[in-house]
């Protein structure tokens, strides 16, 4: 008995009861489809989030004041023993392998033109910011290169901010007020989008010295450091730590986050969430499997005399077992294939209906879905097939 024979025979039995076969395999299809769709959404979100972070480049590390252990998020509270200062930032820029350093101070201030005004985030940064944060200038130019502690009354607007204040007019050269201080607009950024709730497009950028003065700050909120290559991360990290500890009289009162470490933990979290959602959807696969078990069990009961005949003709119990296993696997594979199709159609429909929803169909998960379906079929077939081989052929032939 070849595999082809088995499939043909089992296929005949499946086809003979079309309606119930279709219903049984739909059970599996729904489960597989749901798992595929959810993993697609999960994967899509993962890539979306990762892309959000990698848009700042991967060879970057951030230094914030304060150790993280006690309060979770560093930097919010400020007021540490030793401030993170512009001098610290200058010292870091001398580390070999470091490409650029951006000291950052921020605050919230009211930005006004004649007649219009809004309160937004004001970022105090330096000329290297577009390179380090991977921003591009849309119009005009970015902040001038110069001494970091020298204040210059120029500003660059986020695109949304520009639109709010100036509409379609050319803002370059215009004077605006930020927290009461007069600034000349020298540039407008390209749209960048939101990250972690910060709308980077609805903001203004000024020299860090101006920001510190206008918000009465004596410390930086963050120092961002880029380095030349990924291999250098450990060396740069160590150098940064050593220099800052040295400058802060021996206390490690700052925290360093590398992009790589952050990406890793984010990736991990997203994977777990995706798995959990897929797992919950997987419950329906279990229920679908129960449906197949039920139908196969009924089928064996109905075909007792057929089984007796096959045995009388010399079919081995092993062959009878295989017939029913193949029948069950056939149902689940067809269900799995339909599920993969449904999942793909669902993913397509979702991208079309909700263009904002990030969806990514991973071929590996498609294969996994099919494999799981095959496994489900194998498992569901065992009990009915065992029932089939326990049938006594003599009694079966007389059962009418």
């Amino acid at each position: 008995m070849t595999v082809m024979d088995l499939i043909q025979f089992a296929g005949g039995a499946v086809w003979a009861h079309r309606l119930r076969s279709i219903l049984s395999l739909i059970g599996i299809a729904i489960g597989v489809g749901a798992v595929i769709l959810l993993t697609a959404i999960g994967e899509g979100t993962r890539y979306f989030v990762l892309a959000q972070f990698t848009q700042f480049g991967t060879n970057i590390l951030a230094i914030n004041p304060g150790k993280t252990q006690t309060l979770g998020i560093p930097g919010i509270l400020g007021g540490t023993t030793h401030k993170l200062t512009l001098e610290d930032a200058v010292a870091l820029s001398r580390i070999p392998g470091v490409e650029a350093v951006v000291p950052m101070a921020m605050g919230m201030g009211r930005v006004e033109t004649e007649g219009r005004g809004r309160s937004v985030n004001v970022f105090g940064v330096t000329a290297d910011m577009p390179e380090v944060w991977r921003f591009t200038i849309g119009q005009g130019e970015f902040l001038p290169i110069g001494d970091w502690d020298r204040a210059t009354a120029v500003t660059v607007l986020g695109p949304k901010m520009k639109h709010e204040l100036f509409g379609d007019q050319n803002p370059l050269g215009e004077i605006i007020r930020i927290a009461g201080y007069r600034f000349r607009v020298i540039g407008v950024m390209e749209p960048k989008g939101q990250i972690l709730g910060f709308d980077l497009d609805d903001a203004v950028y000024v020299p860090v010295a101006n920001a510190m003065r206008m918000f009465n700050l004596d410390e930086l909120m963050e120092i961002d450091v880029t380095y030349q290559s990924a291999q250098m991360v450990e060396r740069v990290l160590e150098a940064v730590r050593r220099i800052l500890i040295d400058r802060h009289h021996g206390t490690e009162d700052f925290s360093i986050t590398t992009q790589a470490a952050m990406l890793e933990s984010l990736d991990e979290i997203m994977r777990i969430v995706t798995l959990a959602a897929a797992g919950i959807a997987g419950i329906s696969l279990v229920v679908g499997a129960l449906g197949i078990v039920t139908m196969m069990w009924i089928s064996v009961g109905e075909r007792v005399s057929e089984i007796g005949l096959l045995r009388a003709m010399g079919a081995q119990p092993r062959q009878i077992f295989l017939i029913f296993i193949v029948e069950s696997v056939l149902l689940s594979v067809l269900g799995g294939a339909l599920g993969v199709f449904l999942g793909l159609v669902g993913a397509l429909a979702l991208t079309w209906l909700l263009p904002g929803l990030p969806i990514f169909v991973n071929e590996q998960y498609l294969m996994l879905g099919l494999l799981v379906a095959i496994g489900t079929g194998l498992l569901s077939g065992v009990a009915p097939a065992r029932r089939a081989i326990r049938i006594n052929p003599v009694e079966a032939l007389h059962a009418e």
């Binding site: 045995r311 009388a312 003709m313």
Partner: protein
């Protein structure tokens, strides 16, 4: 060819052994045409099932072509059934979803014969029973007589040594019953050993010899022509 030595078969019913067959010895030569008769419950079917290797005897030895098959394991018994024995049932036992041709080819599937050869052989055999024009009909599209011919074709497809027929005419009208018996006898004439269980005296009297069973034991051997029409020895 078939040698039964002190065969007994008992079944447990409520913890008590009930004997369906007791101390039965019989010998059947190759090419014989034997009828087995007896009242209901006399052990006819049990005897047929033991000869057909569907049941193992509880006691005694069963030599098939000189080999003791009475205590063979399931696999080996399946193998004997597959290659040596053809079954014909009163209620046909055709697989309803398969065509006549597919039903006939079914035993070859389990014997591992290639699909192309199966087709050829099944067609040949269907033709030999006069059903080549019905090859692609399903059982419910055939008359009962045609169905029984499909069953016979299926029984001989593996070229067995023995044909076991359990009431082959039981579900047929007189006319088609006659046809079926003629078909079986023509096979016997070609050298196939034929065993028929029946309670139709008109069938029994056509056999070379008749074994009469009663209460799980062989009570009488009769020659076929000695059977009087319309009466059975146990009546």
């Amino acid at each position: 060819m078939i040698e039964l030595q002190h065969i007994a078969k008992s079944f447990e019913v409520g913890g008590q052994p009930i004997f369906a067959l007791r101390d039965t010895s019989e010998s059947i030569q190759a090419g014989e045409y034997v009828a087995i008769v007896g009242p209901s419950g006399s052990g006819k079917s049990t005897l047929l099932n033991i000869i057909g290797c569907l049941l193992r005897p509880s006691e005694g030895a069963y030599l098939f072509n000189g080999e003791d098959v009475s205590q063979l394991e399931d696999r080996a018994l399946s193998h004997v059934r597959q290659h040596q024995i053809g079954f014909i049932f009163q209620s046909f036992h055709l697989v309803p979803r398969l065509t006549a041709l597919e039903n006939v080819a079914l035993p070859m599937v389990f014997a591992g014969i290639a699909s192309s050869e199966r087709q050829l052989r099944a067609k040949d055999v269907l033709e030999s029973v006069g059903l080549s024009d019905r090859a692609h009909h399903r059982p419910n599209q055939l008359s009962v007589g045609q169905r029984q011919r499909v069953v016979i074709a299926r029984a001989i497809i593996m070229q067995p040594a023995v044909l076991l027929a359990d009431e082959p005419t039981g579900n047929l009208d007189t006319h088609s019953g006659q046809h079926i018996m003629e078909l079986l006898e023509s096979l016997n004439a070609k050298g196939l050993t034929l065993l028929v269980v029946t309670h139709d005296p008109n069938v029994a009297r056509r056999a070379n010899r008749v074994i009469v069973l009663a209460d799980g034991q062989i009570v009488k051997h009769v020659k076929g022509e000695e059977m009087s029409a319309g009466s059975m020895p146990f009546v």
